[in-house]
Subunit: 351 residues, 2 copies
Amino acid sequence: MIALLRKKYSIHDIAKELNVSATTISFVLNGGTQGKKVSEPVRKKILDFVEAIGYKPNLVAQSLRTGKSRIIGMLVEDISDPFFSGIARIIEMKAAKLGYKMFLSSTENDTGQTQHLLRLMRDRQVDGYIMAPPPGIEKEVQELINDNIALVLFDRYFPGIDSHIIEVDNFGGVYKATQHFISNSYKHIVFITLESSQTQMTGRLNGYNQAIAEAALTPLVFKMPYGLDEATMEDRITDFLSWHPAIDAVFFATNYLAKVGIKAIRDSNLTIPYDIAVMSFDDNVHFPMYSPTVTAVAQPLQDISDKCISKLINLLSGKDTSKKSHTVLDVTLMIRDSSLRKSVSGLPGFI
Amino acid sequence: MIALLRKKYSIHDIAKELNVSATTISFVLNGGTQGKKVSEPVRKKILDFVEAIGYKPNLVAQSLRTGKSRIIGMLVEDISDPFFSGIARIIEMKAAKLGYKMFLSSTENDTGQTQHLLRLMRDRQVDGYIMAPPPGIEKEVQELINDNIALVLFDRYFPGIDSHIIEVDNFGGVYKATQHFISNSYKHIVFITLESSQTQMTGRLNGYNQAIAEAALTPLVFKMPYGLDEATMEDRITDFLSWHPAIDAVFFATNYLAKVGIKAIRDSNLTIPYDIAVMSFDDNVHFPMYSPTVTAVAQPLQDISDKCISKLINLLSGKDTSKKSHTVLDVTLMIRDSSLRKSVSGLPGFI
DNA sequence: TTGAAAGCGCTAACAG
DNA sequence: CTGTTAGCGCTTTCAA
């Protein structure tokens, strides 16, 4: 018993111990390349021994030999963002069950940083990638595709590049949400977003514009530069609102903008939804705790994760040899009190 | 130019091209084992060529040969918890700068799952670990230590095991927070926590008990089982509060408990802090957005992360050969409105 | 049905 | 100062 544990067994140690060759063991363990060729007694002897000593092949050696690492690289904008960490968590678990490990990194939506991260991951022979790409990374993405490396893009993508895409219905989500504002009698609806031409952001903007146009209202869009600190963002929004006193509703294109924007609204002594109604894209577990609770377009984390990992696994296993695919998942409007019908608001308790 | 890119160079390709041996190249690239032994011209020739073709050594081969992977394993309770994802993010960035990649996994505070994850990581020759250990994992932790593998425990630890520990002052944080309640005239302060004997939780509990004892108040502790769903937790807290109408303040031992508990308090039509004051351990970016804003004990994420990674790197590099160390970091009480002085509360706007 | 041998790309004794 | 040699542990032709 103790003897069994004294050292780490290699496949050759086992071969010696059992009077078979390493080749045979490898065959047994990997199911054989073409049709099983190992006799039942030998097979059983090997399997039993392997089981008994708890032998696990050295994955590094395996990687070196096969060129496959069974590691997937995941690149998201920010792993501390609940949207991304929620997805990463689900994917990591599923991947683990399938025998894959994951490198998870934050791109911070920065091109240079992402190039660097991709380089590091390629150096380590990562088998496939799940990525929410930052702007400017088209070349690298195209390279991965040309090199025939499994790749799934999610959350946003590059329209000019044939790839596998999992996204949510940004357009439809904001379109319906804006209609919700409109049907609740709001007329001066502003869309506050980031200066970004990434697909998820333009999709949301287009949804807003479409709904506003159909209702023959006047569109008003405020774009904030990327990467401002919280205090500056708040100031900008406060200023913007003070210059546009007619605004009676605001749609924030991201969770983060909503948080900062709501702060700005409160600190301007405006009451939600009485003075200004509010909605956000991307729900947050704390939104139901705000006063008033915040209406938001919720994204299906579980579904996004499932689609990403299963697509990647299919690509990796060679089951799926397609060059492109495009999955668009539905979002859900979580109607809460920050977008209450205009005539109903003004009740106590909304600050 | 094109020729340079046509194939992936191995160290032997370069050797042939440059009429030197692979060994020499290896020496140049790795700085030599003992004192530089390569002549300047050769050295320069190699470095220039390597630079020109963008040669990067195959890290998998390197790992197989050296037994080092330059991968660190990080195990936390839940990567979608902002406390852990915040720390993971900082550590991942720092690690990347130092040439390390990271496997990040959620233990879900489950012993079996953690054993499995550790096994997977060991199979992949992870060099060192940063872990917030779940209960019941003492044996595996001791094994890592016995095998002389770099390991840093954070957030909680095992008192019986000599290890490197980074934690925050759970005791002092709650002690001071409870005193804050007391000095604000609260007399019937309950501590709502989880059924857990992990150090971070007992530390917090002890801080509460100590402060209560010193003030000659009556302690009241409510422990909830681990892993209840949100609705059930809320019901339990609602029930508990209704059976204890004298309670005028509650300290929640975790962020998550606070969120659910505040919901329970509101839905019981109690006003914070007028009927019941509230504090939480572990701050959250959304707490300043609640109405009233929530007083919380904030943990120093940046500091925890820095200490974890630098300790691990020192262990890994052999600079630090100590068997144990124990760093306790200060926490900060973020005083907000949910714990306002008793006589001051009851103002409009607190719901 | 099984085994011998080669080699993935790198490092590190040990010679020269 | 530089090169030869021998593996790290595994997979996979190819031959027996």
